[in-house]
């Protein structure tokens, strides 16, 4: 969600980081996958020879999402500014109604699909219904996300996360959304927030709305040599997919499959998975979809069920539910973290993927380390 002062925020970030005035920068927008889109753009620019060294990633400050004036108020302000004398101003004032002051919460608008008229949470409710995912399964998945993040923090496995400092003398070493004291009973107490009466999706089993930023340096082989850069990994392939907006949460299922087909991979070929946890129900639905013959045939064009992902290899250090989902940044964060997981486990291949509001999915295949030859 671009802030009004920073519409091309990439340029602002570049200048404030000191990348230099002569280094161009642009901002991409793909809702939840903007960070991954930025990596895609960078990779393509390097592949085409237009650039050798690109700083790419995503930033998000959802806590700064604007509160807007409604259309009636904007119209009224237009009139007011042209009222030149006392009489005209009085006349304008007399037209002002309480309804003019009703604000539009930018954040809520941003998280609502304007085409199908559903909030993101409601699309997750759709998936829960479609794949028969119970409240208990969602809550258990969410709880596990918190457990994994807690373990990762304790084992200091999140080295890529920088400590933040505010101007009041506080240091923030960790994201503050982690609940170490959660249990199923507490999870069960939370009320549904999207379908308020009979829904299953709660604040507890949804991603947290947070601020965050993740940046990666992408370089050509030439630049790696020239600047003697340490190589964490390589981007091998990227796939974007479109699907029914009301079921946008299945985006990963749709975008991952074509990559796997291109490389003749089956699920065991992938060492680790990062599927962004927009909603517990949505991640679970992706896994369910791949297990269903029917869905895989009709929606993914496969001959039968795609298979089952081992949960021990998926989001091993937690995900959006526990660490938060700063929309624009998550796409870059999960790629970076996946590469760190591959490095730490000394494994080779991983896929990072997200669902995208509006009915899309994005997936990226990465390999750790430098190219190891054919």
């Amino acid at each position: 969600m671009p802030g009004p002062d920073e519409v091309n925020i990439a340029r602002v970030v570049a200048l404030r980081l000191g990348c230099g005035k002569h280094v161009p920068a642009w901002t991409v927008q793909r809702n939840c996958a903007s960070g991954m889109q930025a990596l895609d753009c960078a990779a393509r620019n390097i592949a085409s020879g237009r650039a050798h060294l690109i700083l790419a990633g995503g930033v998000e400050a959802m806590s700064h999402a604007p509160v807007l004036l409604n259309n009636d108020m904007v119209t009224w302000l237009g009139e007011w500014s042209t009222a030149r004398n006392f009489g005209a101003r009085l006349a304008a004032l007399s037209k002002l109604r309480a309804g003019h002051f009703k604000p539009i919460i930018g954040l809520l608008r941003g998280l609502t699909d304007p085409v199908v008229g559903l909030s993101m949470g409601q699309t997750a409710e759709n998936l829960a219904h479609r794949f028969n995912i119970s409240r208990e399964r969602m809550d258990a998945f969410a709880l596990e996300s918190h457990h994994r993040l807690a373990q990762a923090q304790d084992d200091k496995l999140l080295g890529e996360i920088e400590t933040l400092y505010d101007t009041k003398g506080n240091a923030y070493e960790h994201d503050d959304g982690l609940r170490r004291d959660g249990d199923m009973a507490k999870m069960a107490k939370l009320k549904p927030v999207f379908d308020r009466e009979f829904g299953n999706v709660t604040a507890g089993n949804s991603a947290q709305i947070t601020d965050g930023a993740a940046l990666l340096v992408l370089a050509s082989a030439e630049a790696v040599e020239k600047y003697k850069l340490p190589v964490l990994g390589r981007i091998i392939d990227i796939q974007w997919a479109g699907l029914e907006p009301a079921q946008m949460g299945l985006g990963p299922a749709h975008s991952i499959v074509p990559i796997m087909q291109r490389h003749n991979f089956t699920i065991p070929d992938i060492d680790y998975w990062e599927i962004n946890e927009a909603f517990a129900a949505q991640v679970l639905a992706c896994l369910e979809a791949w297990k269903e013959d029917d869905y895989c045939r009709t929606e993914l064009g496969l001959e039968g069920a795609f298979g089952e992902v081992d949960l021990a290899r998926l989001n091993v250090d937690g995900g959006g539910v526990s660490i938060g989902h700063p929309v624009g940044a998550s796409g870059a964060r999960i790629v970076l973290h996946l590469l760190n997981v591959l490095k730490r486990t000394n494994t080779r291949r991983g896929i990072a993927s997200l669902c995208i509001g509006g009915g899309q999915g994005g997936a990226m295949l990465v390999e750790s380390g430098r190219e190891t030859g054919p």
Partner: protein, 686 residues
């Protein structure tokens, strides 16, 4: 409106050395000041003579308007020529100089056409008075524009009509505040108080000047309330408050000029002509006085220190500070404030958080504009992994005083540093020769020793050991200039200059306190001498633990005994301001001063005991060649300790007060108090 470029003067016009006079198609005269053979414009006699001549001619061939502007990139006019005052012996000679300036300003003020001062950069002292003599003032809104009347810092007050014109322009409170403190302000502030009429971006300066001459808006007038402040009875009331405020900073016995300025205004503000005359007489008197003489000396000492760092020797962009404690953090903050990119390496996140907090407070105070605060915050990068060391042009080590820890650090960072990057230590007590043993290239280590609080202490000791590469030392001094501090080259010897000279003085104070002299009496004696803070309070402020550790290091190598009283307080956990109790008890940072016992008379030799130990140590430093010469010693002690500036430094003071007299006193003290008062051999050379 179309802008007409000023045309070249016709060939028959006289050519001046310091001014260009150009008359454009609208009959506006552009009066460019561009003082020959000087990087800044200063109003020397030659410059003023030419100005008088020009203005006299203009009086007879009146143009449509006159615009006074500077052709120097660094500013408008930096002030009168201080050098001309130094050799003066007679009041009459001083009066000639002052009246020459006043006459030029008055001629300018009396021109019948509109006059505009077009101001960018420095507009100080005589330059400000020149601007005040114009009908309008237009200033560049860039923060580099600095306006003010800082004469008071040289022990005089404005003497080219400034005392007359400024109060009547903006009212007495703002005007007297500027003249009594000598502070400078930017264009926006000047606009707010009415000292300039417009603060505009550089791109509009000339357009604005032409427009003002064409339209002739009503000149600035003080508000009714402001003008009332210059009226009879009110003047007397305000003057009392002013004297009171001045007394807090500058006792009249040492600094007479501010009081004379207040008196001048009280007595004569109703009669500008008379006030003008008295202004010159008053300044002439001070110019010849000892205070002004020594303050001018301090001014030149400062210029000398500045000249010791040649900025061209290094072009630092990135500084890496290792150690996020009080000193390391404050050094990092200061460098970021001065526009450098800074990484501050520290593994303790809470320490880094405090650095960022202090930085924000300072940047907010200094920059005001949120955009500039943000930019400075962006330049200061917390670096818990030490990533910055390989990018930095200057690496400053400011970790705790431990030889092995520092050596281990150097071994680790030296291979990571950029080739040619400067490696400096902020150590105050460990000889550089020992530290540099850890380096593959030992000659690259130099000391850059800052004082606490970094943002207020102008002096930085640049320390060379016998093996320090002299080019490295010169680059270090140049770096110090890049961050707007004053470099003092010193030899690597215990305590360098400042701490070494200060320590015997502090310890003598501690000894006296232990003997039973009330702390407040000791501090008062030092304040009366002209020190900025008493020694006991200074010790409490620095921290008694730090004082003790420095004293112990010095005592091993020098003729210094550590009084048991200091150890006693430290082991009782009384560390000074930071622990709430030291010699004094503190509420916040304010000491509670106990009432003196009735009938108690303090010993008469407090000040002598304090100062002679300092002076004696200064002599020893000179003998050992800790600094190159006596002037640098004076400069270092003034800017490093705040030593009474009006006394011109310790060696200058000894010479003014009489070497023999001081030496005799030292001898008397030796007989009373023992060998710590044995006169150093250097006294024979003073």
């Amino acid at each position: 409106m179309t802008i007409k470029e000023p045309m070249n003067p016709p060939a028959d016009k006289p050519i001046y050395k310091h001014w260009h006079v150009e008359r454009d198609n609208d009959a506006i005269v552009w009066l460019h000041i561009d003082v020959a053979n000087n990087s800044a414009n200063i109003l020397s006699s030659g410059v003023l003579d030419e100005l008088n001549e020009i203005l006299e001619k203009l009086t007879y061939a009146l143009p449509r308007g006159v615009i006074v502007l500077s052709d120097k990139p660094n500013g408008f006019v930096a002030g009168a020529d201080v050098k001309e005052f130094v050799p003066l012996k007679e009041t009459a000679d001083a009066l000639v100089l002052l009246r020459r300036g006043q006459r030029a300003m008055n001629r300018l003020a009396e021109l019948k056409c509109p006059t505009v001062a077009l101001i960018h950069g420095f507009c100080l002292g005589g330059g400000m008075e020149l601007a005040l003599a114009c009908r309008y003032r237009i200033a560049d809104e860039d923060p580099r524009t600095r306006l003010g009347l800082p004469e008071i810092k040289l022990g005089i007050h404005p003497g080219f009509g400034g005392t007359v014109r400024l109060p009547s322009l903006i009212g007495a409170p703002a005007a007297m505040d500027l003249m009594l403190t000598g502070k400078t302000i930017d264009a926006r502030t000047a606009k707010k108080i009415g000292m300039v009429d417009y603060a505009v971006p550089a791109r509009h300066l000339k357009r604005a000047a032409v427009a003002v001459i064409m339209k002739m808006p009503a000149p600035h007038r003080p508000t009714l309330l402001q003008s009332l402040t210059n009226k009879g009875v009110i003047r007397n009331i305000l003057a009392g408050a002013m004297r009171h405020r001045v007394a807090e900073k500058a006792p009249g016995a040492h600094y007479p000029a501010p009081y004379a300025l207040i008196d001048l205004w009280v007595k004569h503000a109703h009669d500008p002509a008379k006030m003008m005359e008295e202004e010159a007489i008053s300044v002439a008197r001070f110019v010849l006085g000892k205070t002004a003489h020594n303050l001018v000396r301090v001014f030149f000492l400062q210029e000398r220190l500045k000249s010791l760092g040649k900025k061209t020797l290094i072009a630092p962009q990135h500084v890496h500070v290792i150690g996020g404690g009080v000193m390391g953090g404050d050094i990092a903050i200061w460098c970021a404030l001065q526009g450098l990119r800074v990484t501050v390496q520290e593994t303790r996140h809470d320490a880094l958080a405090k650095v960022i907090k202090r930085a924000y407070a300072l940047f907010k105070k200094r920059f005001k504009q949120p955009r500039l605060v943000q930019a400075a915050m962006d330049r200061l990068i917390p670096d818990d992994k030490g990533v910055g060391v390989g990018h930095a042009d200057v690496v400053i080590e400011a970790i705790f005083e431990d030889i092995l820890a520092k050596q281990a650090l150097y071994r680790e960072i030296e291979p990571k540093m950029k080739a040619g990057a400067l490696l400096a230590t902020n150590t105050s007590s460990i000889p550089l020769e020992i530290l540099s043993e850890a380096l593959a290239k030992p000659s690259r280590l130099v000391g850059i020793h800052f004082f606490n609080p970094v943002a207020q202490m102008q002096l930085v000791e640049v320390v060379s050991s016998p093996i320090t590469d002299s080019m490295v030392a010169r680059q270090a001094a140049a770096f110090v200039r890049h961050i707007d501090r004053l470099p003092l080259p010193v030899k690597s010897s215990p305590g360098f200059l400042v701490n070494r000279v200060l320590m015997p003085y502090l310890l003598e104070a501690v000894t006296m306190e232990w003997e039973g002299v009330p702390a407040a009496m000791i501090d008062k004696a030092a304040l009366d001498f002209g020190m900025p803070m008493g020694p006991i309070r200074l010790a409490d402020t620095v921290g008694l633990d730090i004082c003790l550790s420095v004293a112990e290091i010095l005592s091993q190598r020098l003729n210094v005994d550590v009084p048991p009283r200091l150890r006693e307080l430290v082991s009782a956990g009384r560390l000074g301001v930071k622990s709430g109790q030291g010699f004094y008890t503190y509420h916040g940072d304010k000491p509670q001063i106990p009432r003196a016992k009735p009938g108690y008379t303090p010993p008469s030799d407090i000040a002598e005991r304090l100062m002679l130990r300092l002076l004696n140590e200064a002599a020893a430093c000179l003998r050992e060649g800790v600094v190159a010469d006596a002037d640098l010693l004076d400069a270092g002690v003034i800017f490093g300790t705040g030593f009474a500036p009006f006394r011109g430094g310790p060696i200058n003071y000894v010479q003014e007060a009489g070497v023999d007299i001081q030496r005799k006193k030292l001898h008397e003290l030796e007989q009373h108090y023992g060998k710590r008062f044995v006169a150093d051999a250097e006294w024979a050379e003073l």
